[in-house]
Assembly symmetry: C2
Homo-oligomer: 257 residues x 2
DNA sequence: CCAAAAGTGTTACAAGTACACCCATGT
DNA sequence: ACATGGGTGTACTTGTAACACTTTTGG
């Protein structure tokens, strides 16, 4: 499917490529040094940061669009990507963002330009391995940077709301589905995994109960090796048992009548 | 917001009223005589039945659109309405449904008519009180009929998939949220409520454990009266404590770290 | 050798599951 | 009187939460 070649092409001829008045926005979570991170993007002429987003090609599945958009920004394939919610407030994009951007780019766009119309956005959230992402500051136009979840700047449109919703959903999700494969390196220690859970849930968990519960899911494999070079007692390394992990992803982890 | 006045107007000028290439489909559940029902609609010229659906007005919130569409069909306000999923397969409406309908209506529509384009649909499911719905067979054009969940005929487009997804979601939903207020009359007996749960989950539940669990949620009020005129021992009547019911709806029912 | 972090186990309480008994009503 | 469905209670199993002790390692 054809895509726009330049920013100008996208602004002036976007309707030839994409579904009208429908967009995709992704909250991309990563985890590094014990803090939850979100990948934000900024188009150089604009002051605000925003979520990674894009549009749906005329014959493209929305999920495929989300994957494509993520791949374009993070370089990552095979990402954990989950639909979040529809954000469809009619006023959600009625700010001067697009006019300002279009103006600064020096493009001549009419007042009925497709970007200026009301957009319904499909919100997604993604979990990615922080280390495998190259926050490709592609030249000088787009900056792509990880932000600490507690240090999020003012965002475009209703992106703040989408982000908050994503975090809440992720927390809920954690109760019924395994999480971590996409946020951690292939091998990790139990305390590291616990820290991830604590970070997402924003609360302390009991070390021993956590270990028991997570092990009871049967999705972890303890490796022979231990982490070396750390102060104090060397912790075991674990990795996810992908077969069982994916099974648990589909079937959930329990609860229910 | 203006709406089309006639079918012809909708077909020819739909783009003037609605968001393009975006639709809403609702799976409407009801409960009657111990069986789960789904409200289906049929446009007279067409052979197949389909879900209750419609389009989103140019300045309308998608949720509001779903409520409006439901109100138009069932007459009901204040319905339990829950977003389900986005159905966005590019081929999902590539059948001869619209051409056939347009043809039978004798409307002259071009091959680039808005209805013939690819549509992304927002799926919702609704729970309504069977008895309060007048399946308004509005004249002769639209038939609106309750179907037993196990006797669903072939449906339009991907509506079967949407329905299946709705049922599955409802079953999951049942684990974390109270359900029943919208499906039962104001007062009901414990066995009746249990039958509802059993019907949705499609499995038998233990009478005593069910009662204990559901009472433990604290969302029911036992009334003074009992159901009369029934064979055998008269069961108590219950009604939902709306305050606590709605609180439980928001906050969920338990589980979690 | 000691502080800090990690491995392992025990006990108490709450929740869920599987049953058994009694009561009321229409036939 | 009895079959049927409804109300209530109890023992058992499982899961969750709180908590203590020992082991390893770097400084």
């Amino acid at each position: 499917m054809k895509q726009p070649r330049t920013k100008k092409d996208l602004i002036l001829k976007g309707e030839d490529y994409f579904l009208p008045q429908l967009s995709v926005d992704c909250v991309i979570f990563g985890f590094h040094e014990g803090v939850l991170k979100v990948l934000l993007i900024r188009l150089a002429p604009l002051p605000q940061w925003g979520l990674v987003g894009g549009f749906i090609l005329k014959e493209e599945n929305p999920d495929a669009a989300a994957h494509r958009i993520l791949k374009e920004r993070t370089g990552l394939d095979e990402i954990f990507l989950q639909f979040l919610q529809v954000f469809g407030n009619p006023d959600r994009t009625k700010t001067d963002t697009w006019p300002v951007l279009i103006g600064k780019l020096g493009v001549q766009a009419g007042t009925n330009n497709w970007l200026l119309k009301r957009f319904v956005s499909l919100g997604y959230y993604a979990l990615v391995d922080f280390h495998e992402v190259t926050p490709g500051t592609d030249g000088s136009f787009e900056s792509c940077v990880w932000f600490d979840i507690h240090e999020i700047p003012a965002l475009l449109f209703d992106h703040r709301e989408i982000l908050d919703q994503a975090l809440e959903t992720l927390q809920l999700h954690l109760n019924y589905h395994p999480v971590g494969y996409n946020l951690l390196p292939v091998s990790f220690t139990m305390p590291e995994l616990q820290r991830l859970y604590e970070t997402i849930l924003d609360k302390k968990l009991d070390r021993r109960n956590f270990q028991r519960k997570i092990l009871s899911f049967g999705i972890l494999r303890r490796l022979k090796e231990k982490r070396k070079g750390v102060a104090h007692k060397a912790p075991y390394l674990y990795s996810f048992d992908l077969r069982k992990y994916n099974k648990a992803l589909k079937e959930g982890l329990g609860g229910g009548w």
